[in-house]
Symmetry: C2
Subunit: 281 residues, 2 copies
C-alpha cells in the first residue's frame, strides 16, 4: 500500500546517505511520516540489514527504491582484481534486482597506484560496463555511469564529466546503460547544458541527484556537500534542464554532510523537503 | 651577466612559491648556485621587497622573470569593486613591466556571495580582460588567463578548463592575451590534448607550469600539490604536447606544498631539478 506523497514531494527521493544516522526501518518510518515515497539506497547498509529483508521492508512501507549505490571500481589492471570487481558488480546487480530498483549507480574507480594513463583507465571502465550490461539487463537493472567531480579523478572516479560518461554509455543500448546527472559534480561545467540535451535525446538520464556546492572543502573532499540552497549551484536551473531533456524520474537528494548526520533525522528530512520545494521544484 | 644554466636546466624556471621559505635575495643566490636562470615571481613578496629593487636584483643576478603571479579576480558585479579590481590589475601590469617579464598570470576570481550564475561571471572576466589588454600590450606585457581546477570554481576561479580560457583569450589578439597550461589544473581533462593543439596553433600558450597531483587533498585544497613524480600526472606527456604545439618557453615549476616549505630551500631546489630531469625533460 503506497502512501500518498505530501504536497510537492511526489518527485522527491531521499538518498539514505543524506540521513545516514537512520537505520533502514527508521528511514522507512521517517519517509512515511514526511510523505516521501522514494528512496535511494546504499549497498553496505542494505547488506548489513539483509538484502531480502530490506526489500521486504521497502515493499511493506510502500517505498520505491529509485537507485542502488553503488557498483563500479573497474580500473584495476591486475586480472585477479578485475575479476573480483566484475564478480562484486554482478552481486550488486542481483541486489538491485532484489530491491526492485531499475538503476545501479556506477562509480568508475580511480587510477591504480603508479598508473599515469587515465585514458587507458577509462577504457577499462568501458570494457567492464560492456561485460556487465547484458547481465544487468537480464535482471531488469540499468547501469548508470556517474561522472564524479574532477577532484576525485585520481583516487575515486576517472570519469569526470557528463560528456565522458556519455561517451562510454553510448557504446551500449540505452535501455542497458545510462548516466547519472548529479549537480554537485557537474555544476561548474559550461558544456553540461548541451550534454544534458544529448543525454536526454538518447534516453540516457537514469538518475538525477542534487546537492549544493559549499566551501571550504574539508580534508579528503568527500564529506563537504551542502544542503540545498546553502551553496552556489543553480539547482532549479539544472532540474529544468533535465526536465526539458525529457527526464521523467525523481530528484534524488544525496548530501554527504557530517553536519546533517549530527542532527535529528526527522528534522533533516523536513529541512530537505522545504529546501527542495524552495530551490529545486 | 647571465650565468650558464646547468646541464638540462636551460628550460627550467622556478616559481618562487615552490621555495616560499626563501627571501628574494636567497632565491636569486639559490638559483645561481643551482644553475637555474629563470624564475616566476609573485606580487606580494615583490611588493614587500620593493618592485624596482626586485627588478634590479633580478637583473644583477642574471635571472629572467618568466611570469608574474598574479592579476585577476574580475568577477565582482558591484561597480566599485570592479573598478578597484581593474585599478589593481593596472598596477600588476606596471609591476610586470618593471620586472621585464612579458607574462602576467590572471586568476579569474570566484562567484560573488549569493551568486549562482557562473556563465555571467565568466563574461565579466572576459570584459575585464578586454579592458586591460591594450594597457598591458602598451607596456610589453601579455595577459595569461589561467584555468584553475574545477574544485576552485566557486571561490577562486570560474575559468576551469583550457577550453574556457581559450574561448576568452581568442576574443583578443594573440600578442595581447594568452593562456597558462598548468598540469596540476588540467591533467584530468580528456579534451586537453586537442586544446593544447588549438592553443599552440593560435600562439596562445604564454606559460607552461608543472606540479603533480597527490591525494588526499588537504582542507581548503589549496596547498596539496605534489613534487614532480610523486603523483599521477603524465608530466612528460603534457610537456611533449606543448612542445609539439610550438611552445618554446620554459617549464615553470610551481608547487604549493608546506612539506617543501619546511625543508632547506637549496635541498628542495636540487630535488626539483632532479625530478624535472627525470619526469619532465
Amino acid at each position: 500500500m503506497t502512501p500518498e506523497p505530501a504536497d510537492g514531494l511526489a518527485g522527491l527521493s531521499i538518498n539514505q546517505e543524506t540521513v545516514k544516522q537512520w537505520s533502514l526501518p527508521e528511514l522507512a518510518e521517517g519517509c512515511r511520516a514526511a510523505g516521501i515515497g522514494s528512496v535511494g539506497l546504499w549497498r553496505a547498509p542494505v547488506q548489513e540489514y539483509g538484502v531480502e529483508r530490506a526489500a521486504r521492508l521497502m515493499r511493506d512501507s510502500g517505498l520505491t527504491v529509485t537507485s542502488l549505490c553503488r557498483g563500479g571500481f573497474f580500473t584495476a589492471s591486475d586480472p585477479d582484481e578485475r575479476a573480483a570487481a566484475l564478480k562484486d558488480n554482478r552481486a550488486a546487480i542481483d541486489e538491485a534486482a532484489a530491491l526492485e530498483t531499475g538503476t545501479l549507480v556506477l562509480v568508475s574507480g580511480g587510477l591504480p597506484p603508479g598508473d599515469r594513463d587515465i585514458a587507458a583507465a577509462r577504457e577499462r571502465v568501458a570494457d567492464a560496463v560492456g561485460d556487465l550490461a547484458p547481465y544487468a539487463a537480464a535482471r531488469g537493472v540499468r547501469l548508470a555511469i556517474e561522472p564524479l567531480h574532477p577532484m576525485y579523478a585520481s583516487d575515486r572516479c576517472v570519469v569526470s564529466t557528463l560528456g565522458q560518461a556519455l561517451d562510454i554509455a553510448e557504446r551500449f543500448p540505452a535501455g542497458q546503460v545510462g548516466v547519472v546527472v548529479d549537480t554537485y559534480h557537474l555544476w561548474w561545467d559550461d558544456r553540461v547544458p548541451a550534454q544534458i540535451g544529448r543525454a536526454g535525446a538518447g534516453g540516457r538520464i537514469a538518475c538525477f541527484q542534487v546537492a549544493d556546492w559549499v566551501t571550504p572543502l574539508p580534508e579528503g573532499v568527500l564529506l563537504g556537500r551542502g544542503q540545498l540552497g546553502d551553496g552556489c549551484v543553480d539547482l532549479r536551473g539544472l532540474r529544468r534542464q533535465v526536465d526539458a531533456a525529457g527526464y521523467e524520474g525523481v530528484t534524488e537528494v544525496e548530501i554527504f554532510s557530517p553536519a546533517l548526520w549530527a542532527r535529528d533525522g526527522a528534522e533533516v528530512l523536513a529541512e530537505v523537503a522545504e529546501r527542495y520545494r524552495r530551490h529545486v521544484l
